[in-house]
Symmetry: C2
Subunit: 370 residues, 2 copies
């Protein structure tokens, strides 16, 4: 029950063990088409440029930045946790200028600050933000932020690594231009793939680039030659060798999500989060994030004064085989992060977690620092 | 029996289906350490900077270039097939100048031409070449080429995607500075990971860079914080979420290679290649590459005049469940590529292939173009 990777269902694990076939085999091309359709459903989009990047979420992030950002561009980057910092790094490594809008760790991105940043920087052409901050458990208003960006003629790059499949994200309805996610969070597949989707305006911007994309591996012009060969089976142009078995697993996880229905998946996350939050309160624990901005799938719990983070987590693991996450960056040692993502998000896991935490926190042998 | 991915042993497939654990779990860190040691054995090196990049071979290639090459650098790139072209693309996307040394498709890289290129371009600081060209089945002299580069104070970047595990490559003895490979060729794992190794001189060059590495995902300074935490288990610094289950599979494939012994693996590839080549000759077929430069693991066969490439390969697949590869680029329609890599490299497969080819080529129903 950490911040990901989540528990992976046996169906998905077994899918990964199917015999490897060629990445240009027509049967495999059929599977790629299905993955694309299932991802469109998951992202709630009809974008044809929707597919998994053959590498973890960090590479999906980089795919968005290197394709959309050119040297000299101005990009407004919202930072309210670890992953906003990483976006800034990406912008700068593209030779562009990052204009930072900061909010506290545990707060959502402020729409007012973003509006002001566009007024102060009228040449900014991209807004980048994290929809669901995995480091703090905060949900930001993706729809509202995209609206502000579009009002100023800018595009948005959205980090949906932890949000996809856990809370509503509606790429078309909210006009999100470029979105990346990860396989190992609410999709409950194992780590290593990064679903992405790009809308028309983003593609237009990529077409009109002055300079080649700095990454050959992540150049969408090339990647798409492989992922959208217009139904030609062996005729798709070879770019890289796709991670065949990992894609079997992703396919199975998306089929399972489709079977449940995405609205039901969202409801399940919401309901189990409510149960967990109520139970944590009963144990006398408080959450880092205000109720209105909490992520159901990632619960940041304030560590009570006097307790030693590492000791408690070690006891949970040793005595209850329960893994929860620690804090990152400024929040290290100050919070625990309890994941309720995908397959992990089950009522019995909520109970196991509350029971284990209750016993460990109530134990007399736990160290209490004055 | 194509150019990769190869057949994957059931042990490796089942390893990938083991339950997913956290990428910072101490048990997983133990597995990472073993992977590193097994890769050192496979590369025949004691380089501490030896690990798999969490993405396919193309990303391993890019990792070498973006870390070692800076804008304005001069890089001698040897092109004798598809993958040399890709290296040139990488050099240029790093803002550097590619000095191309060309050889025919089917010929090895000429040592004399490379010597001359260094004389003509005394400021060239890197030599990049493909050890085993998957597009043509040619082996080049990695040791000799590295010697020339070092004589001129340059480093080498070596593409060992198809060579690693199929023919001898001795990273330390040959002083190869930066080498990348792929999981899905002679290592017989499924695709998606790229083993790399970097020597001291390469690391020194990376340390002295003037500019940050343009890729955040592939920046070795960051990747190594995760892959070499000096024995600290949970203390390793998080960079990206490692593809846990794919690494289970790679680990198993490396264990199997170690069980056989790498010299035995090389011998097996050599012996089965000899058997295949003799059988092809008996069928009246000729190989593209001169005997002295042939790759045992990738056999490029000239398609006899009058036969239609696609038809023959479709018949092999339909009637014998046998997949062989077609030609790439200039060699499309002119050659077949028969892979004998890793688990595929078994005597019974050689027999199956010769038998199937014999029957299809001898069939009266095959189209013969005048």
């Amino acid at each position: 029950m950490g911040p990901g990777p989540t528990m992976v269902h046996e169906r998905i694990l077994q899918a990964s063990a199917r015999p490897t076939i060629g990445h240009l085999d027509s049967a495999f091309v059929g599977l790629m088409d299905e993955i694309k359709q299932l991802l469109q459903y998951t992202f709630q989009t009809s974008n044809s440029m929707t597919m998994p990047i053959s590498a973890p979420g960090s590479a999906g992030m980089e795919a968005c930045f290197v394709n959309l950002v050119e040297p000299g561009d101005q990009v407004i980057v919202c930072i309210n946790g670890v992953f906003g910092h990483r976006m800034k790094e990406n912008v700068e490594r593209c030779g562009a200028k990052a204009i930072v809008v900061e909010d506290g760790w545990g707060s959502p991105v402020s729409l007012d600050k973003v509006r002001q940043a566009f007024i102060n920087n009228p040449d900014a052409s991209i807004l980048a933000f994290v929809h669901a901050e995995t480091s703090t458990g905060v949900l930001s208003d993706a729809k509202g932020l995209a609206q502000i960006a579009h009002d100023h003629g800018a595009l948005v790059i959205v980090d949906a690594v932890t949000s996809l499949g856990g809370v509503p994200i509606r790429v078309d309805e909210w006009s999100l231009d470029a979105v990346y996610s990860g396989s190992q969070k609410c999709l409950s597949c194992f780590p290593g793939l990064s679903p992405v989707t790009f809308g028309e305006a983003a593609l237009e911007r990529i077409k009109n680039r002055k300079k080649k994309v700095q990454s050959w591996f992540l150049d969408l012009n090339l990647v798409m030659g492989y992922w959208s060969g217009e139904g030609k089976s062996a005729g798709r142009s070879y770019h890289h060798t796709a991670p065949v078995n990992s894609l079997y697993a992703l396919h199975e996880s998306l089929v399972m999500l489709h079977e449940e229905g995405i609205e039901n998946t969202w409801s399940r996350h919401h309901a189990n989060h409510k149960e967990l939050a109520a139970g944590l309160e009963k144990l006398g624990l408080t959450l880092l994030v205000k109720e209105t901005h909490r992520l159901p799938q990632l619960n940041a719990v304030n560590i009570p004064d006097g307790l030693i983070d590492g000791e408690i987590r070690a006891l949970l693991l040793r005595d209850f085989e329960l893994e929860i996450g620690g804090g990152l960056g400024d929040l290290a040692g100050k919070i625990w992060r309890i994941g309720l993502m995908g397959e992990t998000c089950r009522s019995q896991n909520v109970n196991t977690c509350l029971n284990a935490l209750g016993k460990v926190l109530g134990s007399e042998s736990v160290t209490k620092v004055a």
